[in-house]
Amino acid sequence: MHGTRILDEADRLMTVCNSCRYCEGLCAVFPAMEMRRAFSDGDLNYLANLCHSCGACYVDCQFSPPHEFNVNVPQTLAVARAESYAAYAWPQALSGAFARNGLVISIVAALSMAAFILGFAALNDRSVLFGVHTGPGAFYKLMPHNAMAALFSAAFLYAIFAMTMSVRAFWRDIGTPIGGRADGGSIFQAIRDAGELRYLHGGGVGCYNEDDKPTDRRKLFHHLTFYGFLLCFAATSVATLYHYLLGREAPYPWWDLPVVLGTLGGIGLVVGPIGLFVAKSRRAPELLDETSYGMDVGFIAMLFLTGVTGMLLLLLRETAAMGPLLALHLGAVFALFVTMPYGKFVHGIYRFVALVRYAQERRIEAGS
């Protein structure tokens, strides 16, 4: 017996699946399952996070509902995955943030954006907030660069710290021996597997979302979102280097590296989340974890909001809308950062760690 109902169900399913194994060519979950004959909580959380929800094992399963064996691996592991985020959250006092995550994210985002608008309005007079500012340092007329850097660094570092603590707990739970380290080869393998979403592929046939036809495009939209996010992060990083190393202040001209990176990333962050949202809303209910709908959509919305406000800021930065848009954009980014450890963002972290573990297990197995 496990700690939760969903882990009991995941255990039951893995016992069924381990006596069948027809799906072992579809993804990493089933080969990892085959390395075990019994499943601890950590094992099940590992398998849950290894699952990319491609849906192929549901469509291919002769025992999926209405069969009496009632095998629904994607949905069960989706619920277990969502519950694992709360189980490994740091500090544990905030694990409740996952329960009504959509609401939490919305409130944090609204408060954050309101704080920036009110802050700008309180610290600057109306002519500054709604003024037209151009040329180097235009943004910092509204908020001094050092204040901006300090605030966002603090938020970012907190997120990194909280997620590091969570990953430690997860790794201890799924790893043997406890406290064992990941090797470089396994990490490199996991970077490749995550980077190409190797297991969001139905074993080569394609993924399933709305019906039993492998027509799913989530992989494409996820790539747009993920690489869009990375490009935006790169844009900010380059701009920070410009600021401190070269003494060049934002805003930069459209052809300059931070803006090019940010524009490309912004497009990804607008198109990708829309595609993912449409896919989510069409997803067959039997594959969907309805309880984490709020968390999923909340995260998609935050990414979309970040992308859209960033793109609008770029387009309208030489107009009177710049001040309010900057406040909205900073508010969105700030909310994204502070909610990172307590929302869907962590799926990428845990899945990556699970992929490292999987690569490591495969190496050990091949070597033995």
Binding site: V16, D60, Q62, H67, G203, V205
Partner: protein, 463 residues
């Protein structure tokens, strides 16, 4: 009056879909009538995982060549010669091309599954298993314009002088209708789920059989064809039957209820008596005889008994083993006579000779002085907890069928070929399989004869 098709395919599994696709590619209009609801479509195909095809060289997924002659020798051995050589050799030759043809229909292969290494050279596995294979065939058929109806119960066939005219169909909503077609492909499987029919040959024992596939494999089309003058082939008591867990559901437990532990222990009946050499040959060559062996025991029940030293030697099982710290405790849980079981195990242990255990070869661990002997892998059962799986006969499919020729054309009772009726899959498996089985052959029969039947049915319809 209903609509008219060039080719009517009755059935919805591998053979039926291969026939439908081949007929459609041959230019015919095709209707597939599947008696089961959509989820349960495909009969036993949904539980399969591989196909045995001849090939002259290793492929991406097959570890070495498996030439026609070797396939033929394997077939000859498992059937004890009870096969139609012309038909069987034709099937084996055609199977070589099926390896590629089936991929062109959207099916994907993968290397043999974990725990099935002994099949890695001879058998090609479906990526995602049999239901994935079926899904691919249905998608292809629908894309090509094949019409498919589910829950389509055929109530009668109109046949005159060996010529198919129409099928009567009971639809769940519209009621009775008649469908005419120029050719018929019957690919509706055996009668394994029809307990009443099984009882005609097995008596009350059939009540204790478990059926590994869906409850829809009732053999109604087979019965209609035999009643209307199609020549019968095969022994009605012959079937593919394995020993499966007695706790499995009556129908559709599929592959996961099987047990691979026989060679690691002993098997006793309800009187705690052993009844067959558990170590006769390596398991992949013997698993398919244990269904019949258990069927011949009183109450059609047996118990695989082993000890804690071998639990990780075979695939994990769906149902956990029943455990006891002593033989007597185990016997109590199995409702066996403790004295009798202890006696059987004590005698067995005393008969075990020293040897070097290796389950991958025919090793030298044997018994001496007991009947039946255990001729390989005999080791003492002496380390508690003592463990057991109760098993019953699990019927996969029956071999009684319609006789066909190389064109998959049905032969009538007088020996004349039918003008327009073809058969493929389990409904005619008895032409090739008089008895016995080798893994993956059912799918070979289905794909090869399905494709031939579809091709010939389309040819007839176009002429």
């Amino acid at each position: 009056m209903g609509s008219k098709y060039d080719v009517l395919v009755i059935g919805g599994g591998n053979a039926a879909l291969c026939a439908a696709i081949a007929a459609r590619r041959g230019g015919a209009s095709v209707l597939v009538l599947e008696g089961a609801p959509k989820f349960y479509r495909g009969g036993n195909t949904r539980h399969t995982r591989n196909m045995r095809c001849a090939h002259d060289a290793a492929t991406e997924i097959l570890t070495g060549p498996y030439i026609e002659e070797e396939f033929w020798e394997d077939l000859l051995r498992v059937t004890g010669g009870q096969t139609d050589e012309v038909l069987a050799r034709h099937m084996i030759r055609e199977s070589k091309d099926i390896l590629n043809w089936i991929v062109e229909q959207g099916v994907r292969w993968q290397p043999s599954l974990g725990g099935t290494l002994s099949l890695g050279r001879t058998n090609s596995f479906f990526l995602g298993g049999g239901r994935a294979m079926l899904n691919a065939l249905y998608l292809t058929a629908e894309r090509l314009g094949v019409d498919v109806e589910y829950d389509a119960e055929v109530t009668d066939l109109v046949i005159e002088d060996g010529m198919f005219l129409a099928a009567r169909l009971k639809r769940p909503i519209d009621g009775e209708t008649e469908i005419r077609a120029t050719s018929l492909v019957a690919a509706a499987g055996g009668f394994e789920a029809n307990i009443e029919w099984l009882k005609q040959y097995w008596g009350e024992a059939a009540d204790n059989f478990l059926i590994r596939g869906t409850p829809y494999n009732r053999g109604s089309i087979l019965k209609m064809l035999l009643d209307k003058g199609v020549q019968e082939v095969g022994d009605p008591t012959q079937c593919h039957a394995v020993a499966i867990d007695a706790r499995a559901p009556k129908f559709d437990g599929g592959i996961i209820t099987r047990h691979d532990s026989v060679v690691f222990g002993i098997v006793v009946n309800k009187h705690s008596q052993r009844f067959y050499d558990e170590g006769e040959d390596i398991w992949p060559k013997r698993y398919a005889i244990w269904g019949r062996l258990v069927a011949a025991q009183p109450d059609q029940i047996a118990y695989i008994i082993f000890d804690s030293t071998v639990v990780t030697s075979f695939m994990p099982t769906l149902f956990p083993p029943i455990a006891g710290q002593t033989i007597a405790e185990l016997a109590g849980k199995l409702t066996l006579d403790p004295v009798a079981l202890e006696k059987t195990i004590t005698e067995f242990n005393a008969a075990v000779r020293p040897g070097t255990f290796d389950h991958t070869i025919l090793d030298d661990c044997v018994t001496e002085g007991i009947t039946p002997p255990k001729t390989h892998w005999a080791r003492k059962i002496e380390t508690p907890p003592y463990l057991a799986y109760p098993v019953r006969p699990g019927i996969t499919f029956t071999y009684l069928g319609t006789r066909v020729n190389k064109e998959a054309r049905m032969l009538m009772a007088d020996g004349k070929p039918s003008a327009n009726m073809f058969a493929a899959g389990e409904i005619m498996a008895g032409n090739v399989l008089g008895k016995g089985y080798a893994a993956g052959m059912g799918m070979t029969i289905g794909s090869v004869f399905g494709r031939i039947a579809g091709r010939e049915a389309a040819k007839h319809a176009r002429n």
